[in-house]
């Protein structure tokens, strides 16, 4: 009997899973359902499109409709899944169609969260997740002069870069004392603040948004922060996180906890249902606890691992074992990468080497679990390897922040102990 697989979501996790499923199961029925109206595109590079740096759209699509046809994969665009029936192994859509499955993958990602303040849905207040968002942002940014950015994290800084690239003078409203305060100290963040100012984006600390101000036509004209200070701007970018798209799972019995809980095999608590991508709270075998990750490489690999396990015979499951990385490439000659889990841990080390170079590493139970590198990425792969190898670093943590650190230094230190 022909196996039948359904994937909900056509981001990189879903796309990677579709490709792997076809490779693993040449004769299976495969259906990809997405509520978006276009095929898989490069979600990392649409920020460059919004900046106006990559003006053409075609190279940003990773799959066209032919890609699905050539692989005999049924693609359902503009289709909302309303609920699933795990007992009957059926997916129901808003148009009343039913899709039966032997194994199901949920890779629906998230939706940008709105600020819970007045006028947060006004014209000119942008959220950034899809290609459609990028087009809308690009159109509006091109004609804007003053901007406001909200969200002092890895996604919010994309809006700051868009303002910089488009010549929009902007204020970047942050609640704390520095950008990405969960992973950076003021030393590290200071380098980013300087880089923002070079883009004509001014960081404003101990701020935020109390409410947005609009004109008579409902278009945003500014924001008032909790201190009562008003900032003008007709272009506003808000990135304060994602709400994961799990509404259609209500009543299904699938465990959720700010995302879908899966084990190291990407399987949910419900038989034959898997999840992959941003939406998962997955068991990280290196960290030895559940974790979340929004990076491209993590989503791509989770999709592939889930697909292999959807088709695997009993006892042949593959575990997800991966150290992710997420780069910010907006600042000329100032590379930035975060890798692994830089916001958690029980210990850390950091050092600033110059006005443009800084390193911070996080540890758990004596092992490296993550970090942030600013200004010099030479050690990125080495540190990721140390995490993968789960090296015991007790007594050696300081070596890793030596400016001229090399892997051989760890080996030598281990031999001396």
């Amino acid at each position: 009997m022909t196996e039948s697989y359904v994937i909900i979501g056509d981001g990189i996790a879903g796309g990677s899973a579709a490709k792997t499923l076809r490779e693993e199961s040449p004769d299976a029925d495969i259906t990809v359902i997405t509520d978006e109206g276009e095929t898989l595109y490069n979600r990392i590079l649409i920020k460059e499109y919004a900046k106006g740096k990559i003006p053409m759209e075609d190279p940003l699509f990773l799959h066209d409709e032919e890609w699905y046809e050539e692989r005999d994969i049924d693609l359902e665009l503009n289709t909302h899944v309303t609920h699933i029936d795990p007992d009957g192994h059926v997916v129901h859509t808003h148009e009343g169609d039913d899709y039966e499955y032997d194994a199901l993958l949920v890779a629906t990602g998230g939706t940008p969260r709105q600020l819970p303040v007045d006028n947060s849905d006004a014209d000119g207040v942008h959220h950034f997740w899809t290609f459609e968002d990028a087009r809308s942002i690009a159109d509006h940014a091109e004609e804007s002069e003053q901007g406001i950015v909200v969200g002092a994290g890895l996604l919010g800084i994309d809006f700051a870069a868009i303002c910089g690239a488009r010549g929009i003078e902007a204020n970047y409203l942050m609640r704390g004392d520095c950008w990405w305060r969960y992973a950076l100290s003021e030393d590290g963040a200071g380098i980013i603040h300087d880089a923002l100012r070079e883009l004509d984006v001014e960081p404003v600390f101990q701020s935020g948004v109390d409410h947005f101000v609009t004109d008579d036509d409902g278009h945003v004209t500014g924001a008032v922060d909790p201190n009562g200070e008003e900032f003008e701007g007709e272009f506003v970018g808000v990135s304060i996180g994602l709400d994961f798209n799990t509404e259609f799972l209500r009543g299904s019995g699938i465990e959720t906890d700010d995302g879908i809980v899966v084990d190291e095999f990407m399987e949910t608590n419900t038989e034959d249902i898997y999840a992959a991508g941003d939406i998962t709270r997955f068991y990280d075998v290196i960290l030895e606890e559940h974790a979340q990750n929004g990076s491209w490489d993590s989503a791509k690999k989770q999709g592939a691992v889930a697909a292999k396990n959807m088709t695997a015979a009993d006892g042949e499951a593959e575990e997800f074992r991966h150290v992710s990385s997420y780069s910010i490439s907006h600042f000329k000659d100032l590379p930035f990468v975060s890798f692994g889990h830089p916001t958690i841990g029980d210990d850390d080390r950091e050092r600033k080497y110059s006005d443009t170079e800084w390193r911070r590493l996080t540890f758990k139970n004596g092992k490296l679990i993550g970090g942030v590198l600013i200004g010099n990425l030479k050690l990125q792969s080495a540190f990721k390897r140390i995490i993968r190898e789960e090296r015991d670093l007790e007594g050696q943590k300081d070596l890793l922040i030596e400016e001229d650190f090399e892997m051989e230094m760890l080996d030598a230190a281990a031999q001396e102990q």
């Binding site: 590079l45 460059e48 990559i54 792969s381």
Partner: protein
Amino acid sequence: MAVGTSSGQHVHLSAREVEPVPADATALRHVDQLDDEAFDQFRRLVDGDTVNVQPAEEVPFEHGEIIVHTAYFRVTVR
């Protein structure tokens, strides 16, 4: 302009900064799409360091593709 080159048994690689992205560019990747080995190779190319190049079929770049990092780099594979 950053230029990096390397010579190996089968191919010659270089990475050259381009701005703006050429309108005829068909292959674009962000640096986060590279695996660790490809990332290290790309970084050394951009830094102008020597790269030990593998056989042509193992090169992790397409000729002419643009890698998006802190600038846009066109990779040449010859």
